[in-house]
């Protein structure tokens, strides 16, 4: 089972030019528990080819949201950047396997 099978929506956005933030809207307490327990920060770090220590994780039960924030894999608008608004990283997270 992958993240997309369980949740309502995965959104990725710039949080300024140097940070990326990924919001997983789980929709229900059950789905929230599934993501909180089944999607490790390490797995997200591997998908984004980044050091897990640089990822800030927020498990927000009242909103049924799991949020990850990290230094942007490429700085917004840099020559190697492929996605000015940072929305394209969301499908990558939505396609991750769950434990």
């Amino acid at each position: 089972m992958i993240v997309r099978d369980v949740v309502t929506k995965v959104r990725s956005k710039n949080a300024g030019p140097f940070w990326l933030t990924i919001d997983i809207f789980c929709g229900t307490p059950d789905a929230f528990a599934r993501i909180r327990d089944g999607l490790s920060t390490d797995r997200v770090a591997t998908a984004l080819a980044t050091d897990p220590a640089t990822i800030k994780r927020f498990d927000i039960a009242p909103l049924h949201v799991v949020k990850f924030s990290l230094p942007r894999p490429t700085v917004q608008g840099a020559l190697d950047d492929r996605d000015m608004h940072g929305a394209g990283w969301a499908p990558l997270i939505a396609e991750l396997d769950l434990n």
């Binding site: 956005k13 710039n14 949080a15 300024g16 030019p17 140097f18 940070w19 933030t21 919001d23 809207f25 998908a47 984004l48 080819a49 800030k56 927020f58 927000i60 009242p62 909103l63 949201v65 949020k67 924030s69 230094p71 942007r72 894999p73 700085v75 917004q76 608008g77 840099a78 020559l79 190697d80 492929r82 996605d83 000015m84 608004h85 394209g88 990283w89 990558l92 396609e95």
Partner: protein, 443 residues
């Protein structure tokens, strides 16, 4: 109590006129709108230009000037013209004069300018924020524009002039909303929290595109009410908005301190309004302003070719790698050693995610986007021209018949001009909040 009318998340995005009229009838103390963001990339700051057209900006701004006139309250815009440089402030001032003349109106205008001298910033003591790039003084000095983000304090100074219309350069998104209620002594935590919730207009509600939002702040909390038909704020939509484009959903840093919404509670007042209490404002030891800068990273020429032949679609990555190798040798042979960057991005496979994309689904066709960046436009153009024979005819193996691929344009090369890069993610400490800013009341 203070009542702020927020027409939309940014000037240029449009707003619902009926909802705006409703907001004016509700007798706001201030109309506040954001004019920009870094979200569209470094080019706007680098060039000192607005993302939106003059005509579109004028039409929307004229509607807000009429709303201000009807409401009899000040109108404030922050980050005028997308990037908030002095040039975009002047641009909006020019548009404002034009509107006032055409409509037969008069208004006292104040401007707040936020641009910094790159040479001076290169020598200043700066503190890097988390995730900041490495920068040396030469890189900073090479910025075409640097702006400092003004906070509520500078907007308060602008309000103190008694201006009817305040056109500010780069400000934090929240400062233009927070300044007046803070001046009036409303609860600081509630003010900043309300400003954060409201800064994107009705994005904190259902029907987020409708734009118009009413924000009431007072001694204990704030109430948010979207004004368009069918738009509703709920405890969920309002609390979830703290996630939006925020790296930390509970903490928000501003020049004079930080907001903590960890203990906030959200209560539905009716089926469209939400009451929020419990956020705390913490005053910082030092007054720091964030800086944004952009410099030219090079000049670009791009080209696009599309491929439908299944053999080439299936082997597009190998085809691109081979072209890059042969092209690099050709560039050196024809032009001598060059300092440049050449990328081929395969649209339909990995153009969005690059090497991170491990399982792109097979497509029936792909596009190959070539991006050449060099120190000047002529060099970038020539290097891109040397790519053309490969993009047109390069065979995967020597044995096959010469293939031909699809170009949507002639000539295939498109000169893009300067490419800009964001340089600064740093703060600067000020003794007085006005030290880096210039306030002017126009005659």
């Amino acid at each position: 109590m203070t009542r702020i009318l927020i027409p939309s998340g940014a000037l240029g995005l449009g707003y619902d006129q009926i909802a705006l009229d409703r907001g004016v009838a509700a007798r706001p103390d201030l109309i506040a709108i954001d004019g920009g963001s870094t979200d569209s990339g470094p080019s706007y700051l680098g060039r000192g230009l607005s993302k939106y057209t003059r005509a579109g900006t004028k039409a929307e701004w004229a509607g807000l000037i009429r709303a201000r006139q009807a409401a009899g309250c000040p109108l404030v815009i922050g980050t005028a013209g997308t990037c908030g440089t002095d040039s975009t402030v002047d641009w909006l001032v020019d548009i404002t004069h034009e509107i006032l003349t055409e409509e037969g109106l008069t208004a006292k205008i104040a401007t707040l300018k936020c641009e910094q001298d790159p040479a001076q910033i290169a020598r200043a003591a700066l503190t890097a924020l988390p995730g900041a790039p490495d920068v040396d003084p030469d890189t900073i000095a090479s910025c075409t524009h640097i702006v400092a983000l003004a906070g509520a304090e500078q907007i308060m100074a602008a309000l103190d002039t008694g201006a009817d219309i305040i056109i500010a350069g780069r400000t934090t998104d929240t400062a233009i909303i927070a300044a007046l209620p803070l001046q009036r002594g409303d609860h600081a935590g509630a003010v900043w929290h309300g400003a954060k919730v409201g800064e994107c207009g009705a994005l904190c509600a259902t029907n987020p595109q409708s734009g118009v939002l009413l924000l009431d702040t007072d001694a204990t909390g704030f109430t948010v009410t979207p004004l368009a038909d069918g738009a509703r704020a709920t405890p969920h939509t309002v609390s979830a908005h703290m996630l939006y484009e925020n790296s930390d959903p509970f903490i928000l840093h501003e020049p004079g301190g930080y907001l903590d919404v960890t203990d906030a509670t959200y209560t539905a007042l009716d089926d469209r309004s939400v009451r929020v209490t419990g956020a705390e404002w913490h005053i910082a030891d030092a007054y720091t302003v964030k800086l944004e800068g952009a410099r030219i990273a090079g000049y670009q020429t791009v080209a696009l070719v599309t491929i439908r032949d299944p053999h080439y679609v299936a082997n597009a990555a190998a085809w691109c790698d081979d072209i890059l190798q042969k092209h690099a040798a050709k560039v050196t042979a024809r032009m001598g050693p060059q300092d440049y960057d050449c990328q081929l991005r395969i649209i339909g496979q990995t153009a969005t995610l690059g090497a991170l994309d491990h399982s792109p689904a097979p497509a029936s066709e792909v596009g190959v986007l070539a991006i050449v960046t060099a120190a000047d436009q002529a060099t970038a153009h020539d290097i891109a021209k040397l790519l053309n024979p490969y993009l047109l005819h390069h065979p995967l193996t020597r044995d096959e018949e010469q293939p031909t691929f699809a170009f949507p344009f002639s000539p295939p090369e498109i000169d893009k001009g300067a490419a800009y890069a964001f340089v600064l993610h740093h703060v600067m400490t000020l003794r007085d909040p006005m030290d880096a800013f210039r306030l002017e009341v126009l005659a």
